[in-house]
Amino acid sequence: MTPEDEDATPRTGRTDAADERMSGRVGRRGFLRGAVGAAAASGAAALAGYGPAAARPAHAETVHGATPAPFHGTHQSGILTPKPAAAAFVAFDLTVSTPGAAAELLRTITDRTRFLTTGGTPPNLGISAPPADSGLLGPDVVPGGLTATLGVGATFFDVLGMPSARPAQLRPMDVFVNDDLDPARTGGDLVLQLCADSRDVVLHALRDIARHTRGGMQVRWRIDGFDSPSRPSGASRNLLGFKDGIVNPAGSEADRLVWVQPNGPEPAWAAGGSYHVIRVIRMLVEFWDRVTISEQERMIGRRRDSGAPLSGSRESDVPDYADDAKGSTIPLDAHIRLANPRTGPTDASRLLRRGYNYDLGIDANGNLDMGLVFNAFVQDLDRQFVATQKRLADEPLVDYISPVGGGYFFALPGVRDASDHYGKALFAS
């Protein structure tokens, strides 16, 4: 926030010094820039191993030997990088309305995420202010596998009066035939996907970022996720008990399926970004547990125990539809068959999925409220996500799941280096 923006930080009757600190001009962020500088060398080391197809980038050692995902790069981390155990998906609404204020907000988010994903020692503010860090991770902030992935929603461009900068397909999330969306859990001007090896790292990052951006954005909805351990092997299981995310595009396909390419239909600034689809899908697990195993397996198209397609014996077996035109092995309306029919024309509709399980307590009549944060990145919203979702309309599984929230976002291109920041190209466009 800068003092020039009339709708920046709300005034609370604090002293000028406090206001100055909150505005970030010389206060907290000034100190933290120093801390980031100390960690920048390790960040740069990590950068060398980073590219869109790098399954696991080279890691730099930091204070406690934790492994930071790289922060700088052509693309953001948290998309192609391996999926760690804990996640938070947090949608925000802007409380500023000018491009200048929003640019400053994104610069603050850049500074904070650069520090948090790299790690380091928070500054001692002495008696000038409360402590700079929440202390959740101890005296030194460890990266803990943290990735922060920032996206913008269609309303970001409406609020800021920048319709021409909006990615071509970005819009409020479509309402699909089996949806039951709650507006309070849908949409948002910005979204932050935080992933890390453990929940405390995720929550530490969220508290830090929220603290530094109070006046510029407010949380609209939030859902935390977890990835289950592999049991007993292979892909992890969702809360229906089935292995999920068995098939995903290879890193080498990312330029065809994940990243927006330059010189196409999208604004120039968007190259290197990706459409980000989040769908909070409640699973009616009590009902599901009352369904026979053979009905469950026919709905999914895979064995529950092994994850093998019904046409195979192992998780890695490729479903065979050519020999099964009537669906006697894998029913024609099985989830995996509709989602990915494995035909030439549907090949380009494949998605990069990075889903997490969620557990939110109970609903109005005491049934468990849990499910899947469906989380996908695509190069082309309509060609990939929407086409897939339409194929799944009224599939048998819909009686056991209920999409209740989420949104369409655009994951920004990566922050390229220490002089770059989120939204730099966007606001220059």
Partner: protein, 357 residues
């Protein structure tokens, strides 16, 4: 729970020619059977009682060339695999005898064939056909109230008409697209409660309890009457899927849990618990129609039927959902969700399986 990986592993073949081959010397206790479909066709494989043909377990479907494990605890008795490969007559493999006993042994269930369900499905169709004129008359009364601008009468007549529909047991879209037109919800529609494509009982409920005028509601009441008339015509000529009908006994209760006891389908009338009672009436009707097929295969038949009745009577007499105390609400949630647990085996037991042919 059986620690499957530690049980003795037995390879069993499934095909028209070699059904059950490989299972030669079983001992009582946990079995870890690895079943290979060596046929060129997909099929269903049943582990049966060799004397009666009753089914202990199944692998369904088992694709051509695939392998699937089957963990089950078996006591003394004689057993045989039955292989029902696609487009082929069923084949029963060699009889295998186990001497001795095992604790926790599975119990077999007599399989139900398509023919067993045919009579019950026909009885259900007859029942619904008999009730549809009652529904049409109740909807006609509602339609007439709206037509003459008497919305107080329409609010009074809405409930019996809606309950009459719920009593038919149309859970989870049993009546297809017409169920959506007659009893649909605004979820999944782009404009929610303001969406012009939302029609039926709940749309009328929303209007009647949210101060909408008769001119707005008239086309909706007329549309509802037309959809019910269409249902009468369709129902007289269309075949009901037998499996779908057998699932009704369980799914009506699930439907009540998901949509009524959460209050999700209350658009102003506050009648969710009366709807639950009507739904349980429908469940009772289905259970009675299925009695001949179900009661010999499902030991708790009589006590479950009694619980359906008791829960329904309590729900019908209850104060509106929103006014219940926590304890009262927990009580009705417990009863209906226990019923859902108790009725869940019905769908498994009544799934049609291929007998010895």
């Amino acid at each position: 729970m059986q620690p499957g990986a530690t049980n003795p592993r037995t390879e069993v073949l499934a095909s028209v020619d070699r059904c059950g081959s490989g299972w030669t010397d079983p001992k009582p206790g946990p079995q870890h059977l690895v079943i290979h479909n060596t046929d060129t066709r997909a099929g269903e494989v049943y582990l049966t009682d060799a004397k009666t043909g009753d089914v202990y377990a199944e692998v369904d479907p088992l694709g051509a060339g695939t392998t699937q494990t089957l963990d089950i605890t078996l006591g003394g008795g004689s057993y045989a695999f039955r292989c029902a490969m696609e487009d082929e007559q069923t084949v029963t493999g060699p009889t295998v005898t186990i001497a001795g006993t095992a604790s926790g042994a599975a119990a077999p269930v007599a399989s139900v064939g398509q023919a067993d369900l045919l009579v019950a499905t026909h009885d259900y169709q007859t029942y619904v056909l008999g009730r549809l004129p009652v529904l049409a008359a109740a909807v006609g009364a509602l339609q007439a109230d709206v037509a003459r601008d008497d919305l107080a009468a329409a609010r009074a007549d809405w409930l019996p008409a809606h309950l009459e529909y719920e009593r038919l047991g149309a859970a989870y879209g049993a009546f297809g697209d017409l169920d959506g037109a007659i009893n649909g919800l605004p979820s999944g529609l782009a404009q929610g409660v303001d969406d012009p494509s939302w029609t039926g009982f709940h749309r009328l409920e929303y209007g009647l309890w949210h101060g909408q005028d008769a001119a707005t509601l008239r086309p909706l009441a007329d549309g509802l009457a037309a959809s019910v008339a269409q249902l009468q015509r369709d129902f007289a000529t269309e075949q009901i899927d037998q499996l779908t009908f057998a699932l009704r006994a369980h799914e009506i209760t699930e439907n009540a849990l998901q949509f009524e006891l959460t209050g999700r389908t209350d658009f102003g009338s506050g009648s969710n618990l009366q709807t639950v009672a009507a739904d349980l009436d429908g469940t009772e009707t289905v259970l009675r129609i299925l009695e001949k097929v179900l009661s010999p295969r499902y030991p708790p038949y009589a006590q479950t039927l009694a619980l359906v009745q008791k829960t329904g009577q309590e729900a019908a007499a209850s104060a509106p959902l929103a006014s219940l105390t926590t304890a009262q609400r927990e009580h009705v949630d417990a009863e209906v969700s226990q019923l859902a647990e108790d009725l869940a085996p019905v769908a498994s037991i009544l799934e049609p399986r291929r007998a010895n042919e």
